[in-house]
Amino acid sequence: MIDAIDLARFQFAFVVSFHIIFPAFTIGLAFYLAVLEGLWLWKKEQRYLDLFKYWLKIFAVAFAMGVVSGIVMSYQFGTNWSVFSDKTGPVLGPLMGYEILSAFFLEAGFLGIMLFGLNKVGKKLHFFATLMVAFGTFFSAFWILSVNSWMHTPTGFDINATGQFIPLDWFEIIFNPSFPYRLIHMLMAAYLTTAFVVVSVGAFHLLKTNTSNTNSKTMISMGLWMIACIAPLQLIAGDFHGLNTLEYQPAKVAAMEGHYESKKGAPLILFGIPNDEEGRIDYEVSIPKLGSLILTHSLDGEIRGLNEWPRDERPPAEIIFWSFRLMVGIGLLMIAIGFASLWMRVKGILYSCRWYCRVLMFSGPIGFVAVIAGWVTTEVGRQPYTVYGLLKTVDSVAPIDALAVGLSLITFIITYFIIFGSGVFYIFKQFQIDPDQNEKFNNVLAERGGISYIVNALGRVKKTF
């Protein structure tokens, strides 16, 4: 029989993973829309308005799914993790309150005007509404990442007689040590995720029509500038975030790197199979000393291994060793794609190189994979704690029955697959419309379903090889 706590953990992992897909996309897309509308107002070029309208439809669907999956999140804390809520409420509650007041209302309040108001309020006010929605997504990320970071690196609090965390210094709580790194890392991840989707849709249509396709080219060009600039910066931000984690959560870093034994001059393990049971890594392939160089910026720096912690205080390396490599691998791929775009611009073959366009088309989802892999790394790496070092996950759970959690879990899984499956289907249907033909097709949707986007894409692969 599975415990209520395992079911509750799985439920939270499921609903939060599903949820993060949408904000990761809409945080970037809201800013892309603001940039497009701004460019349209400034340069008065039709293509920017075309693209704005094109992506607005996708934003509407993605945002609705983000909202409804987000409401579920705000109730998860109470229904399944009530002890956590009681204990952390005085510290985390006000931060979430600020998120609702400064972000959720702002987004929701101006979304109606952004979606339906262009002909009602005039261009400038409409642009203002778009900006407010974009700022809303930013404020939302700010507060919720502050909450999450505090759970990783709690500061500025005291513990009262009933075991509640109570606030001492709000500045220390909000700007806790891991927060700036996490915020920057996540915002850049969101921008990259969106950029890859935009570029992928552009590449798809460029390959399909193969003519002078201005709107698709605009999408590809804008997205690739973003990728070329942000992807390398993301690597640097990730490195800083890693060093911060090494300082505050060394066990997590040990598990990410696959280090079980403490060592001076530790190697960088490229591949291997972590074995938590035996406390060692099997089939290790590594580069000597590089691990210490990266983490301590010195060839002989000491890295503490997982075996230094008691077994029940270690995060599971068997999961985060892999998720971390997946994230970093995608990050490196993003940098390569970005640099390649610069080189092709110089050569003048950015739009004519078909294999490169195909790579772009298939890279559409890699941002999402990297975001989820990154979150798995940091959240699983925080285990066995909810508030790092202070409150264990097993002590955070509500007094709940396995049956109730199990039933609600099944209900969430079924509903999410139907609802979000349909949403993704409609988004793909929209993607099938040529951004150059968008106005002609306005509200007359493509006859073929979203599946044919994939079928077409696969057909193209066949031709390539």
Binding site: K53, L56, A60, A64, M65, V68, S69, G70, I71, S74, Y75, F77, G78, T79, S82, S85, D86, K87, T88, G89, P90, V91, G93, P94, M96, G97, Y98, E99, I100, L101, S102, F104, F105, L106, A108, G109, F110, L111, G112, I113, G117, N119, K120, V121, M132, N160, T162, I166, P167, L168, W170, P399, I400, A404, S408, T415, G423, Y426, N442, N443
Partner: protein
């Protein structure tokens, strides 16, 4: 005596009431949707709430988030106690929320998202009512945790409150349509409003008589001298408001029926507050016992004082932009 805990209880009550009225009318549109048989009527009804439903639902998050921040103990007891109805409510809200976007994308004649919109709205409303009923009945507490069973929320009273709320939201929805539409659809909305008003008033009466019988403390407030004196204006005003409502419906007023319905909700809400005050988890925990430390309450109060007026201004602005009778061609994006 005014304390910061009391101020927070008022803020929370305000957020919850704002939610009930605002999401009430757009959930109500979903409940009366089956009575709108023509596609154009359905499109109109949907368009009348499409730009604002999202903002309306944000008040629910403020209610939940505010409870978590200001009264974390209450949050951590009430939510597990109402586990099943709240989960079902969330599923209902998901179904209807996405229907706003999806129904325009689906090509099939029998639009499955119309069905999802109806089903989701009814489930969400029923479950909110059941949760409210279960809350009024009282929640079993031991130490700092919920001590009851998994089916405590289910009782004849809670189910009755659930169905009562369906009639109430339906009335909010139909009177909203009176305000936002013209011609045949408005006439249909008036007819529906008369029906739902009758049902709702009957439901208010039953719930008002039933509630004091649940708990001797409630009984004292409503039926003993001199407490009665404070409570008495509520039923009297309900009586006057319902007469005005029916008169306005008969005269085919545009806005009055909706306003009167909102006022009925306000009176019912005040009645509810009279019953439970000062408890936040009836019958055992009061607002002082559940409150966060002063430092938390003060910190977020600053945010409320700064942001709430601004929120009210731009929310009103959005309502102003989309004011008046709704037209079909305004809503393509």
């Amino acid at each position: 005596m005014i304390s910061i805990e009391l101020i927070w209880a008022v803020i929370l009550a305000f957020a919850i009431f704002a939610y009930i009225v605002l999401d009430g009318f757009d959930l109500g549109i979903g409940i009366i949707y089956p009575f709108l048989t023509k596609k154009v009527d359905r499109d109109m009804a949907m368009n009348s709430v499409a730009p604002i439903w999202d903002g309306n639902e944000t008040w629910l998050i403020l209610g939940g988030g505010g409870l978590f921040a200001a009264f974390p103990l209450a949050y951590s007891i009430i939510l597990p106690a109402l586990y099943a109805p709240l989960t079902a409510m969330l599923i209902g809200l998901i179904l209807r929320g996405v229907a706003f976007e999806f129904r325009w994308k689906s090509k099939s004649k029998k639009n499955i998202w119309d069905q999802a919109f109806i089903l989701g709205s009814i489930i969400a409303t029923l479950m909110q009512g059941i949760a409210l009923g279960a809350f009024i009945q009282g929640i079993d507490v031991e130490g700092r945790a919920y001590a009851g069973g998994w089916w405590d929320w289910l009782s004849p009273f809670s189910v009755f409150v659930g169905f009562s709320l369906i009639s109430g939201y339906a009335l909010l929805g139909s009177t909203w349509l009176i305000m936002k539409t013209e011609g045949d659809l408005k006439q249909l909305a008036i007819k529906l409003s008369k029906k739902f008003a009758t049902i709702m008033l009957f439901a208010i009466f039953i719930v008002s008589v039933w509630t004091p019988l649940l708990n001797p403390e409630y009984f004292i407030k409503w039926f003993s001298w001199p407490f009665m004196l404070y409570a008495l204006p509520v039923p009297l005003l309900v009586f006057l408001t319902s007469i005005t409502l029916f008169y306005a419906l008969k005269k085919q007023h545009n806005i009055k029926p909706f306003l009167m319905t909102v006022f009925l909700f306000l009176l019912s809400f005040i009645g509810f507050l009279i019953s439970i005050f000062p408890h936040i988890v009836p019958p055992s925990i009061d607002i002082w016992g559940a409150a966060s430390p002063e430092k938390s309450l003060k910190f977020l109060l600053v945010g409320v004082v700064i942001f709430l007026p601004v929120i009210l201004i731009y929310t009103s602005y959005t309502y102003w932009v989309f004011r008046g009778k709704v037209k079909l061609d305004d809503f393509q994006h």
